[in-house]
Symmetry: C2
Subunit: 268 residues, 2 copies
């Protein structure tokens, strides 16, 4: 098999990373994909760096054994705590979700602009987005806002219910008058609330979908390395989780319209 015909590996602590998988499929339909969701150990948010590094390396090894050509870490916590440690053991290029989101936000923010980062409590506490944004451009002003109800709201499939609007307003209404230029969806679940968040923030605020930004960055990187799959038929997707494959499969269908087929189980 040509190296370019090998699959792309994608992993997340759970099912949020499926928004990245979906964006990758839309952008590069010929690519074969292998997804791993660590549903037995989700969420990573409250775990120590050493635990997240050790879990991420185990999953990366599992995906390397699937002969992947490229690895996407579709999890904000693992991207902020374990990216370097995964790269140390990786035979293939590794891309996280933070750098692409940061790049996309900086393109949208004018000099001295204001960026609002939304994420889980753990991601916000890590300040990973603030550090990455300000390392790239010292002029931007960054505020981070944890929105802990968004993930369970998405997982319940309640994104279009009126109460989802109330929750979004509760978290974000205070930022409406503050001249925010860009809002980063800093959690892989949040793209499912994108329209709602855009409505609450108003038309002036650009929404940065880090799933989409990550898929674009992956395409650029694969193309630069001559690794884009040249095929014309639709690439296959394989799915693995560490626990509860049926729940994963049914949520993937309910939330993202994804048909996973049979979901494999790999315990560590």
């Amino acid at each position: 098999m040509l190296k370019s015909e090998r699959p792309i590996g994608i992993f997340d602590s759970g099912l949020g990373g499926l928004t990245v998988l979906k964006a990758v499929r839309a952008l590069m339909p010929a690519e074969r994909l292998v997804y791993f969701g660590d549903t037995a150990r989700v969420p990573y948010g409250a775990k120590s760096k050493s635990a997240v590094v050790s879990f991420s390396r185990e999953i990366a090894d599992f995906l390397f054994a699937k002969k992947i050509k490229f690895l996407i870490v579709a999890c904000n916590t693992a991207s902020s705590l374990a990216l370097e440690e995964i790269r140390e053991i990786s035979p293939v290029p590794v891309l996280g979700v933070i750098t692409p989101g940061v790049g996309a936000a900086l393109e949208l923010a004018p000099r001295g602009g204001k960026i609002l980062v939304t994420g889980t409590a753990a991601t916000v506490a890590s300040r990973a987005y603030t550090r990455a944004l300000q390392a790239a451009r010292r002029d931007v002003r960054v505020t981070e806002k944890a929105c802990p109800l968004f993930v369970p709201l998405v997982e319940e499939g309640w994104c279009s219910k009126p109460l989802a609007g109330l929750v979004a307003r509760e978290y974000l209404a205070a930022f409406r008058g503050r001249k925010i230029d860009a809002l980063i969806l800093g959690c892989t679940h949040y793209p499912l609330l994108k329209k709602l968040i855009a409505r609450v923030m108003g038309p002036r605020v650009k929404i940065v979908d880090s799933a989409l930004a990550t898929a674009r960055a992956a395409r650029l990187e694969l193309s630069r390395r001559g690794l884009l799959n040249p095929g014309r038929s639709r690439g296959e997707c394989e799915f693995y989780v560490s626990d509860a494959p049926e729940r994963f499969s049914s949520l993937a269908r309910k939330l993202l319209g994804l048909k996973t087929g049979e979901v494999g189980v790999k315990r560590f």
Copy 2:
């Protein structure tokens, strides 16, 4: 020191167990209490039995070293997965939250009555309440309903906001016409939503507060063993967590009006 003057140990995966601590304090103000919240490893819900057993034993050992006279496992997951394993190593009596809640519900349910159990996804998936209820009385009919948004709602301090009412209706309205006799609050966070849940369910449905039931069961057991503290002054409370003591302290004040004083940190 008299054995009866020793403290009661209480632990939970996080801060939910503080509802039990508060009920114990109200019922037995002279008792000294030592609370441990495993905030570094919360939530236990998605973890394997062996992990929950090992965490629970570590915490129990920490509390035994504080010379406790009685141990309350104020966590539904640990109560359903690890109670026997804690008892095996415990030099003192051990009480979980499930048996007291089950007992209180059965007192309220007539022959052939209907009981609705609310809890986290993990507690509901374990079917621990259904098993305990039906082991005690085969005539009762039990339904369990997972309410995953309740915990983050409580932790945000949003219990009295209109959206809390919408969330409660979303989960529970379908049960209103179904002649439920008793509803068990099967998660130590839920007593903070008790009034709201009672309003949604209507006056016919009795709400079983397992925190209160556990405090009552503890008093009965201590009294039976001659271990009630005979003192007349208010007993002291000590608090320990495995991570983020400031957040714990501020949530305890915000959600429960509890002043924790300095919160100790014990990592495992």
